[in-house]
């Protein structure tokens, strides 16, 4: 009925215009043909619409930086143009927020189609069947093109349960100008003793302090894991039991005590971003675990003449008396696809991720924070266009360091001191809990006996996390 009326109205208008001479005969015939075909096809439209069911998928990631959000918005809009029946709702949030949000969604059995997750989250979720393998997607993207060091952490019994969105490596950041002023050469450091020997020379309070560490439990746990790893030890044994009273772990606690005089007086209240600001503004000589994101802070807050890698250097991580090689953290949050999501949503999420990893889209994403979001594709690091980004060129020593860490093989995901730790499913629960942070505070600020504090922490981890996890 409506079709007829539109058609009739159009016809009347067309005939009127032809009679008035507003359009010539050829135009009239063309328009008449178009109008007829259009009118004839109108009844088919609802049938086509019924055939293409609209799918809305939620994709949660851990990159809330405004530039990254803008890139994701552009990518999802481009994807929607190609797949009008799929709407991607992409949401970025901080780590901790993501874990809380996932917790609620999983409890309600309404997970997103896909989300980011740390390696320990992938381990824990795949063991409980919360996420599903994504080999088909990885193969479609190009498994051989991806850094093996990126892929190795999400493989369980020959199947892949996650794919890193982008990777990074943490580093010991140091002020080159302060080292010069102090007459020291940090690039020659090899052991904790070398490091501690020069620490007083880098400590000039209140102008600046020798070292900065965060007091947020998650970060404290990570520092401890890095130091234990650099001292040849682990947080857990092969069975996943905590071994915080091992000589290597006690040595790491002892190191914390020794660096304390060079930390700002309220170091245990500082959060991670405060460390980056303090580093950029020259209030600390070293930041123990910085990520490439620091470049953004330096570009924003450091004096213009100091915004370069000659001033903001990467210094060598040192090893403890029982260690053989220093340890670096590998930042590799993975895209995970949730088993509980409806099938069409899972398929749509994989389709979106295939689109996301296409060069023209993926580079938009990586370039949103150029020296922090490193591409997972080997060839990109040989591509002059990728490397030619002004920020990557300016911070090239940092980028070279990142590549060197994954080539060294001593760059492990968060809280892992050994590749075997990846299979421990409760490592994430230990990492977010304050148990190890309490132990550190007891030793470093309250002067408790490290062995006693470590034994208590072992007991708490076993009783409050492992035993409960095994029953879950």
């Amino acid at each position: 009925m409506k079709t007829e009326s539109i058609y009739g109205k159009g016809m009347r208008l067309l005939v009127k215009e032809r009679k008035e001479g507003s359009i010539d005969r050829r135009c009239f015939l063309k328009a008449l043909g178009g109008l007829t075909v259009g009118a004839a096809s109108l009844p088919l439209v609802p049938k086509l619409a019924r055939g293409q069911k609209k799918i809305t998928i939620n994709m949660w990631d851990t990159e809330p930086t405004p530039t990254t959000r803008a890139a994701m918005k552009e990518i999802t809009a481009d994807f929607h143009r190609l797949h009008p029946n799929i709407e991607v709702i992409s949401e970025g949030m901080g780590w901790a927020d993501m874990e809380r949000k996932l917790q609620t969604a999983l409890a309600a059995r309404t997970p997103p189609a896909a989300s980011h997750g740390q390696t320990y989250t992938v381990t824990s979720f795949q063991q409980k069947g919360i996420i599903e393998p994504i080999d088909d997607m990885i193969n479609a993207i190009g498994k051989d093109r991806i850094f093996p060091h990126v892929l190795r952490w999400s493989e369980y019994k020959g199947r892949y349960y996650g794919l890193t969105h982008s990777w990074g490596a943490d580093y010991l950041g140091g002020r080159g100008d302060y080292a010069k002023e102090a007459g020291i050469n940090p690039l020659g450091w090899k052991t904790w003793d070398d490091w501690l020997r020069d620490m007083p020379k880098l400590n000039k309070p209140p102008r600046y302090y020798g070292l900065s560490l965060s007091g947020v439990p998650h970060w404290m746990n990570q520092y401890l894991a890095l130091w234990i790893g650099a001292n040849g030890g682990r947080l857990f044994d092969d069975k996943g039991n905590p071994v915080l009273d091992s000589p290597q772990a006690l040595g790491a606690l002892e190191l914390w005590r020794k660096v304390k005089p060079f930390l700002p007086p309220a170091w245990s209240s500082h959060d991670y971003l405060e460390l980056l600001s303090a580093f950029a503004t020259g209030r600390v000589a070293q930041v123990f675990s910085a990520w490439m994101r620091a470049a953004g802070y330096i570009d924003q807050y450091a004096p213009p003449d100091k915004r370069n890698p000659e001033i903001f250097q990467i210094w060598p991580r040192t090893i403890g008396p029982m260690g053989k090689a220093p340890l670096t953290q590998f930042d590799n949050e993975n895209w995970m696809v949730f088993s509980d999501a409806p099938k069409e949503e899972k398929d749509a999420a994989k389709e979106f991720l295939k689109f996301f990893y296409k060069k023209e889209n993926y580079w938009k994403y990586c370039n949103s924070v150029p020296v922090h979001l490193n591409s997972i594709f080997k060839d990109d690091f040989k591509d002059p266009e990728y490397l030619g980004h002004p920020d990557r060129k300016r911070w090239k020593p940092w980028l070279d360091y990142s590549i060197a860490t994954i080539e060294s093989g001593r760059s492990y995901p968060l809280l892992m001191c050994d590749p075997k730790d990846r299979m421990i499913p409760w490592i994430g629960d230990v990492g977010t809990s304050p148990i190890m942070a309490d132990m550190i505070m007891a030793v470093v600020t309250k002067g408790e006996d490290p062995k006693k504090a470590a034994k208590e922490a072992n007991m708490r981890i076993t009783r409050d996390i492992i035993e409960k996890w095994k029953k879950a």
Partner: protein
């Protein structure tokens, strides 16, 4: 609006309420009967049902679910759960960290509530007196209470920061003896938490007390003056007794809110590191549920907090019975 104007408004509302009560009492008896018509009563009940359903769904269900969850061992991410009865409660009652959190929550509640009351009453007395710029000051008195918590806390974190905070810098210049090296260390962060809470929440006390001050009859003060009472005597014998009922409610509300306050101590200390010094019961509850990922234990702990609050309120009402409203 002047104090006199506000008094007039208050009298106007009282007159309106009196009028409504009088009108109701004057209803013809037939009309009262009509109110008891069973058909209308059923309609009334039906109309109330949506509200009752909402209350049951959004208030009572979560409460009962939480009580039920407290008897289970449940990992927050996993679907399975196992019945443990009172094990969670027995564990917590033997846990020294629970008692430490209870102690810290007590210190925080008592100190911050008492100081909010003192500063709130002082502020209200100042704002009640006549001076130039009073109206402007009344306008901005609520400002700290209106600032979003996250902004207030991060602003104070910056102000108190040991490396570039303005307050430690000024205190250092002044060479005041006994000042700590850092205000946000584990030993001193409780002072900052209390101070920050006073700054944020004292306007609530101030506004409530001010509202009551404006309705105290000036004739009481005039009579006291005639009898030769000093300002302090007037405050003790007139103002405080007149404020009694308002203060009873304000202290109760602020006490409950401080005891269950989570956002301020959490955002100030993140629960560990220096935050260990302000790991109050709500923070410890959150840690069990969301960092240890033990939902059952978190639920049990929040039930304990609920019971402790109820006990506190009962004791409070027993110790300070509500006086007669004149």
């Amino acid at each position: 609006m002047t104090a006199g104007g506000e008094g007039a408004l208050h009298r106007f509302f009282l007159a309106q309420i009196d009028g409504m009560v009088e009108n109701h009492n004057n209803y013809p008896s037939g009309l009262k009967e009509k109110h008891r018509n069973p058909r209308q009563a059923i309609i009334g009940v039906l109309l109330l049902l949506p509200s009752v359903a909402l209350v049951l769904s959004f208030i009572l269900f979560p409460v009962f679910y939480n009580v039920w969850l407290g008897f289970y061992e449940k990992h927050s991410f996993m679907r399975t759960m196992s019945w443990v009865g009172l094990k969670n409660y027995l564990f917590l009652l033997k846990d020294p960290r629970f008692w430490n959190s209870f102690y810290l929550a007590g210190i925080y509640t008592v100190a911050s509530t008492a100081l909010q009351i003192i500063f709130g009453i002082s502020g209200a007395l100042i704002l009640h007196s006549e001076f130039r710029g009073r109206d402007f000051l009344r306008g901005i008195a609520l400002f700290p209470y209106m600032v979003p918590t996250i902004i207030a806390i991060f602003t104070w974190r910056w102000l108190m920061n040991d490396m570039y905070g303005v307050i430690p810098y000024v205190l250092n210049i002044l060479h005041i003896p006994g000042m700590p090296d850092a205000w946000l260390s584990v030993d001193t962060i409780m002072y900052v938490l209390i101070f920050l809470s006073i700054w944020t929440f004292f306007p609530f006390v101030c506004v409530n007390v001010l509202a009551r001050l404006q309705t105290i009859s000036p004739r009481l003060y005039e009579a006291a003056k005639v009898d030769g009472a000093s300002g302090i005597q007037q405050f003790i014998h007139i103002t405080l007794p007149e404020l009694r009922n308002v203060l009873l409610i304000v202290v109760l509300l602020r006490g409950i809110w401080m005891f269950t306050k989570f956002d301020v101590p959490w955002l100030l200390g993140f629960g560990a590191g220096s935050g260990e010094g302000i790991r109050t019961l709500p923070v410890y509850t959150y840690q069990w549920a969301f960092t240890f990922n033990q939902a059952g234990m978190g639920a049990a702990l929040s039930n304990i907090v609920f019971v402790l609050t109820l006990v506190g309120v009962t004791v409070y009402f027993a110790a300070f019975p509500k006086g007669e409203v004149e």
